[in-house]
Amino acid sequence: MLDIDTIRNDFPILREKVYGKPLVYLDNAATTHKPQSVLDRVINHYSRQNSNCHRGAHFLSEQASAAYESARESVRSFINAQSPAEIIFTRGTTESINLVAESFGRKFVRADDEIIITQMEHHSNIVPWQRLCESRGARLKVLPMNKKGMLKLDRLSKLITENTKLLCVSYVSNTLGIVNPIREIIDLAHRYDVAVLVDAAQAVQHIPLDVQEMDCDFLAFSGHKMYAETGIGVLYGKQRWLEAMPPYQSGGGMIGNVGLRESTYAELPLKFEAGTANAAGAISLQAAIDYLQEIGLDAIVNYENELINRAVESIASLEGVIVYGDFPQRCGVVSFNLENAHPYDVGMILDKLAIAVRSGNHCAQPLMEHLGISGTVRISLALYNTPQEIDKLIAGVEKCRDMIGSRYVTTK
């Protein structure tokens, strides 16, 4: 069991009040808060070892470079990559996916080739592929979902042709919280020699990842959704892909030799890290990983699963509520609506009760179209949420139902 009181104490923002009430933060899929240990590590970096990495040869620069590379090693070990050369620091999931779209695309995607995405992807795993296909004359294909919110896996082998180059799929949906059978998907794709990019933005903070066991070709996630700073993220890529791909951005740090006419590029992973490294960001990610590992990822998984199940059950038992998706175990996220109420109204009222949820399309418009709605109310959990907070949410939703449904007429 997690010691939730201690954990909550680790997060300074959880002591904040909103409209005079204690904050109930249930928008963790958008971004999580940061434990004091992460903040301390960032401040310590800037106060004691700040310097430009991999440039100078002086003491501070060596310290900063060592710290940055040690953060890379932490990430490698956290997702069990084979080599630190496979860990590229980016700004976040969106940039990681853009990197692959541009660089893998430039090298491997030709006219009439195909990229497959799924109907439940986040915009960040849709638009880069649309733009790639447009610029290359390639085709974008979409693996559909069924009514329950699950991918129609039986369609996948029919979608794949010999022109299919890449399958892009999220591990966990940011809207429904469904966990896709990622290994099955990857195995199937590999049987047809199709590479797989996994969007792990909503998985990495909830599920232990092992990229070697998964055998994915690329995997992307963001630091800010796993208790680290904004502005840092990761692209994992199998070394042979990364070796074969051209650089993405260019400039200082990613080059070998620069002549005025021609340049050669640095080795992995620096080849993909143009410009001054965000060392503090990487270090905050390392601190977040340390924090998760100290608590224990298995304990976190258990606790979060229990909590989400409790949330789903309580929400579903409310009258006049529609919960989206029908499958056994949600991961971190539940989406629902009040009948006849706009999700925006529900979100705004909950906000006034100091309950932060997200209402809208969750950057997943195609999924919304599939559901035939314009948006949902989404709650998303982190390891610091409590059963009491779920109870407050339930009371809040009931209050929304009363307010929106009531026939009270103002006299003003």
Partner: protein, 136 residues
């Protein structure tokens, strides 16, 4: 009542409401009072973008006054529209175009709702002013 008297009136009403929950209850109940908009007017051209909820806005000019028709699929947005129309409806185009809409700020709705695009209050006001300027 002058347009600013109406604005001041709204500010007083909100001042008397104790907390944000009451203020929103008030807005929601206002929203329920918004007259339904003719579905034929809910065209793409009359749709305001940049709001999380859908918003439609249309204006006619009659006898030198603007008559607004507006709607939203969200109750709170309807309520905000009601507030805006209390101030703007049936006013001359020039007045609508030139009036400084200060009640939003005074009531605390702007710091509370902007700069996110979710609400689009700013978008609605901008579009009201555009319509008014066209009608001058």
């Amino acid at each position: 009542m002058s347009i600013n008297d109406i604005q001041d009136d709204i500010v007083t009403t909100f001042d008397e409401l104790d907390d944000w929950m009451d203020k929103y209850e008030y807005i929601i109940n206002l929203g329920k009072l918004l007259e339904p908009m003719d579905p034929a007017l809910k065209t793409q051209a009359n749709t305001i973008s940049g709001c999380q909820a859908k918003v439609w806005l249309y204006a006619e000019v009659n006898d030198g006054k603007m008559y607004f028709h507006a709607d939203s699929d969200a109750l709170i947005t309807k309520g905000l529209i009601m507030l805006l129309l209390k101030v703007m409806d049936k006013q001359p185009p020039a007045t609508v175009a030139e009036t400084d809409i200060y009640f939003i700020d005074r009531v605390g709705l702007s710091s509370n709702l902007s700069p996110s695009r979710a609400n689009g209050l700013a978008s609605i006001i901008k579009n009201i002013k555009i319509l008014a300027r066209k009608a001058i």
